[in-house]
Amino acid sequence: MTRKQYTKLIVYVCLVLLAVISALPFYMMIVNATRDTKEILSGFSFLPGSSLIENYQTMMDYVNIWLGFKNSLIVSVSVTVLSGYFSALTAFGFAVYNFKGKNPLFIFMLLMMMVPGQLGLIGFYELNKFIGTLDTFIPLIVPAIASPFVVFFLRQYLATTLHPTLLEAARMDGASELKIFHTIALPIMMPAVATMSIFTFIGSWNNYIVPLVVLFSPEKFTLPVLMGFLKGSQVAQNLGSMYIGIAISVVPIMVAFLFFSKYIISSISAGSVKE
């Protein structure tokens, strides 16, 4: 082998090693989910054990993890749909019409985009206490109607793709403005909405601090909050059950990623390169 081939070999070995490091914790998690506590304590193993069902039953005796799964799904799907629809609506309003105060409102929205979520957290909690929406999904779902970043992205998209003559033609045919939005603008925006939806969904699914603050009843916990609850509970004594709990929260996302990885990765790239 020449020197160049050696270097290349070393590079590939390093890349594979890095890939192993990225995936190994997940593999260990799956293996340990199938072993009982005694086996896990006796040492590390690459081979699965035979206690999968026992571990699952022990965990389910304490916490119904599928309930958390369902809650997370309800919240994240609602958030994604609301954010997609209302952001498109807002972007359409900003892109198509010319009204008083349009630019100041848009700039104000962009400025507020920079404010970190924690800034208003305490006021947000107090507001929800006042209107009686603590321990409900409302504070997790409804605020998604106002997603400045998605509006910004969609408005930029509309500005380049929606041709004014299309709107003129529809108006001549007597379509109402709302109908124009639903039948012309929304379909045009769909690819951009889909891109943003992936981010919105992942962001909502992984959100931890807001549900932690506003939810109190374990049966309403979203998956991230439920995982924290699991750690502080009796189940934590049974390591195999802990691992299976984590696995259940992780494996579906990994499977979804297998199918969508191309779109997810290209949407990260699209979000970061704005020429």
Binding site: F94, P116, G120, G123
Partner: protein
């Protein structure tokens, strides 16, 4: 000048209604609390600037501030280093590394997983006696005694920084690669013909042209890093132990508000955090921007 058409208000009304109620109002209300000694019940009592004076002499806040910086700094240096190295390798014409799509997906995987699951997974894997990490290291003979990762200040901070690096280097790599793909291929070909070596190509072509993307990565990572909460919260059961080394600014904020019911003071911490974020984002932006203008 187009003629005014007020139908636009109809389309943006739902957004601004919700925005006012759930974003603007809470932010303003929080600001009002910074001047009070509100404890979560009754009417907030006005105490002027007391909270602001307190935060300046609060050693716990300083500790949380430096902890957050140490953890973020180590994590970001490693994360960017690995991602840059990978980007340089994959953009190298001489190597022509295959499998970009595959590696990208595997490297990105940890970023996708709910951070609370990651926190709990690592807190049991890093367990002193029963954790897989110590067992693995002992089995391959790298260490003879189990290391108490999460119970010593330095190893606890390093552990959290490494977990964050593990979670984020793939994302940073994808973003950098998107930037690299925007660099015209002729530049690399020209460098190859001119006989530039790998290091020269990287320093004179890849690095300067990636600067805007790196600025983006740095500012978003900084903003996220200063808000570090989930990992320390879950790993230490909200305590920020050992010896307060995992007490971050947002964890401190959370504990002041929802553990000790000091809403007024917690609100002040939130505003301090905001101010710190703005200042450091501005510094980053300015220094990076100046450098790129000079070159």
């Amino acid at each position: 000048m187009k003629k005014l058409d007020h139908k636009g208000y109809f389309f943006i009304a739902p957004f601004f209604a919700i925005f006012l109620v759930f974003n603007i109002y809470p932010v303003l209300l929080t600001f009002y609390y910074t001047f009070t000694s509100y404890e979560g019940y009754g009417t907030p009592e006005f105490i002027g600037l007391t909270n602001y004076i307190r935060i300046f002499s609060d050693s716990y806040f300083y500790e949380a501030f430096f902890n957050t910086w140490k953890i973020w700094g180590l994590n970001f240096a490693l994360q960017l280093g690995i991602a840059l190295l990978l980007a340089a390798l994959f953009s190298d014409l001489r190597f022509k590394i295959k499998g970009l799509g595959f590696f990208r997906a595997i490297f990105y995987l940890p970023n996708l997983i709910t951070i609370s699951s990651v926190a709990i997974l690592f807190s049991i894997m890093l367990d002193w006696r029963h954790g897989s990490v110590n067992m693995f290291l002992q089995q391959i003979g790298l260490i003879s005694e189990p290391i108490n990762w999460l119970n010593q200040p330095v190893t606890a901070q390093v552990s959290v920084a490494l977990i964050l690096t593990w979670m984020w280097f793939g994302y940073t790599f994808i973003v950098l690669m998107a930037g690299v793909s925007g660099i015209p291929g002729e530049l690399y070909e020209a460098a190859l013909i001119d006989g530039a070596n790998r290091w020269q190509t990287f320093v004179h072509i890849t690095l300067p042209l990636l600067k805007p993307i790196m600025l983006y990565v740095m500012i978003t990572s900084l903003i996220g890093g200063l808000q570090l909460f989930d990992l320390p919260m879950l790993i230490t059961d909200g305590l920020g132990a050992p010896e307060g080394s995992l007490n971050t600014m947002v964890l401190y904020l959370y504990n002041q508000a929802f553990r000790y019911n000091n809403y007024g003071y917690a609100a002040t911490i939130a505003y301090a955090l905001f101010l710190i974020t703005v200042i450091f984002s501005a510094i980053t932006f300015k220094s990076m921007y100046r450098k790129s203008v000079k070159e």
